[in-house]
Symmetry: C2
Subunit: 454 residues, 2 copies
Amino acid sequence: MQEAQEELALHFDQLLSELRQGHLNEFRELFLSLHIYDQAQFYQSLEEQERERLYTYLSPKELADMFDVIEEDNEHMKDYLDEMRPNYAADMLSEMYSDNAVDLLNTLDKSQVSKYLSLMDVEDASEIKELLHYEDDTAGSIMTTEFVSIVANQTVRSAMYVLKNEADVAETIYYVYVVDTDNRLVGVISLRDLIVNDDDTLIADVMSERVIAVHVGDDQEDVAKTIRDYDFLAVPVTDYDDHLLGIVTVDDIIDVIDDEAASDYSGLAGVNVEEVSENPLKAASKRLPWLITLLFLGMSTASLISHYEELVSEASILAVFISLITGTAGNAGTQSLAVAVRRIAMSDDKDTSFVSLIVSEVLTGLITGAVTGLTIFLIVGIWKHNFTLGFVIGMAMLCAITVANLAGSLIPMLMDKLGFDPAVASGPFITTLSDLTSVLIYFNIASLFLQYFM
Amino acid sequence: MQEAQEELALHFDQLLSELRQGHLNEFRELFLSLHIYDQAQFYQSLEEQERERLYTYLSPKELADMFDVIEEDNEHMKDYLDEMRPNYAADMLSEMYSDNAVDLLNTLDKSQVSKYLSLMDVEDASEIKELLHYEDDTAGSIMTTEFVSIVANQTVRSAMYVLKNEADVAETIYYVYVVDTDNRLVGVISLRDLIVNDDDTLIADVMSERVIAVHVGDDQEDVAKTIRDYDFLAVPVTDYDDHLLGIVTVDDIIDVIDDEAASDYSGLAGVNVEEVSENPLKAASKRLPWLITLLFLGMSTASLISHYEELVSEASILAVFISLITGTAGNAGTQSLAVAVRRIAMSDDKDTSFVSLIVSEVLTGLITGAVTGLTIFLIVGIWKHNFTLGFVIGMAMLCAITVANLAGSLIPMLMDKLGFDPAVASGPFITTLSDLTSVLIYFNIASLFLQYFM
């Protein structure tokens, strides 16, 4: 890897000097010999003036191949398009795979989108317009329309002929989808199967009629699950009437899995880890809304304790264990939350597991609470020579942990039921909420037993 | 999807009745018409006696195809192998893709592994033995040896001939790797390129000589990054001398990405979310080690506060804000941790970003701390009509958040430097640690200003 990277760096240097010196042919040969991902890395390292020259050196199709691999969340995407001549940009967008073109257009203003669409040829523009209508995070929003489809009553030979012709524009040629005259999906055959069968075999005889397809409105996570479970390279997307609308390829699914993982992780931490900025001012501005919101939630805990200030001044020993109880309950609640969010994401049938998950989490809370409570009972009893105080702390721990587990599982479940992403019920939110309930439980139990441990 | 699932359920019912009634042919026809993932779902729904009959109905090769898609972390894997005749099991293991066979063998006892290896034919066994030697989580440990390789001085026609012959055993036929006489990797050509080129074209003329490969010792996360960045369906694995050893396919990479995401998520929550058990006793036993460890860490915070008990009894108002300060600092530390873990995972060059990340996190902490501190200064000042107290709380907040951000970024960075997975520095650990520093900061500042706010 090290060696390859150094070789690539040398290549980039040479490319840059060819570009600066205006050596069109040398530049093109060297540039096009690179893998498109490396082309994209080189392109993104250029200055605006250099990029402008590059546009005159490459055809819209050549640039489109490279743009297909640039992530659409690249913050400079808009600038790149702006610095191209509008016609060139529109041609490039037409040449891109439709799913990537749509992703890119989705980052632009509406007026820009219609400008580019009006400059494209009518067919490309209408294809893209249709894709732009699908809701975010559905199969429709990530599918591409560049797939290969044939009818069943032809031979392997003629299917291979179709493939050869479409190899240049199709996003994958490794599956060929079989449709009836009404464009309804009736079968699928992989290129592997085409290759091992005789040229004169009828497609109808060798295709698989048991096609696994996803619905255009399915959530992208479900599409990811299908591709992952079946080890597919692509999955067809259909409407309610089984018409073939497009395909989702495995590379897009990897992005989906990455995004979902990052968003779950962000949820648990209460910070968007994908928008990582080196600039502390920007980073702080992203994190402050959550922190300040939680600060106000934390204020209710503070005002609750304030309500018990007299109790604390009478028994200042109680203050010693506030952070231990809130902290431990918060830790237990976070565990519960993570398990619940994960199980909601993994579960196929969400309804049956609702009650069983809650019950299981509360029971888990009772057991962990009992063990933790007993431990702290012994520690406090021995340390402070006061087993009644130990009992108060232990009981509070048991109840606080059980309630934290209930909140940690119930809140994401409810959010899921209400149609929100359960991962939004972040870890910090659960711990801050559990601070409140823990303190309430703690001081109530302490008040009950005050006369016995003081 | 709904409809398809119902159809599949009907299918399973019919399959089960054919199996129970001993209709060999009907069962085989129906079973083999299913996609292997669905075959595996059916197989896993059977009772032991039914599975034992199924082994007599299917060839080791047919069973192997199905076992290739069962995740190796399935807890019943060992039982499945045990209930087969050892020879049948060994034959099945030989027929599986080598990477999957190795994953499966890795879950067994050493004595069992050598039993099966001794029953396999020598060539298969030696291939698997070699793969078993690679360290966990490296490219070597997830690669398969069933790839298609050719030499450069042949035509597209003869390459296609090789492909047809190997299509049945190769894990992917969509890339053909080109090697020299010494088995050094010199090029690659995709099936797409083979198809669009004339049969008489020389491979040497159309192959890509710029092969992106990974080293056998590379971390599986780096392999995942390469496949994801380049949108590959597979990547070749080589040794230091560029000898082609195997390939890693995209379906294995999806599993890697899933596992890494789950382990990061688990780390942040302080619980292994992958070992989800419905049994509360088991779940509690998994979570308690962390909770009890953190409880003891929390005890140091308690004993620290205990040290300041006199201060608290003098100024019980101080107790009101303990959980607010520890909670908010904990939230900020968790944000910092998540960003650091993510950035370590994403960064290509880990050394340069070390200092800049720490500096950036501390500065972010100072800014968020200043804003949060100012907010709480105003709230407390107005609420308690005591701006000196507000100043103490605000200052403590500022310092506690800054220290929490430092800990949240420094600890995962240090773990990464020391060769540990930075995600092990879990969220609960950071928050519990930050409780300690926050309390220390809070009471020290409070002691300094005690005479002014009381």
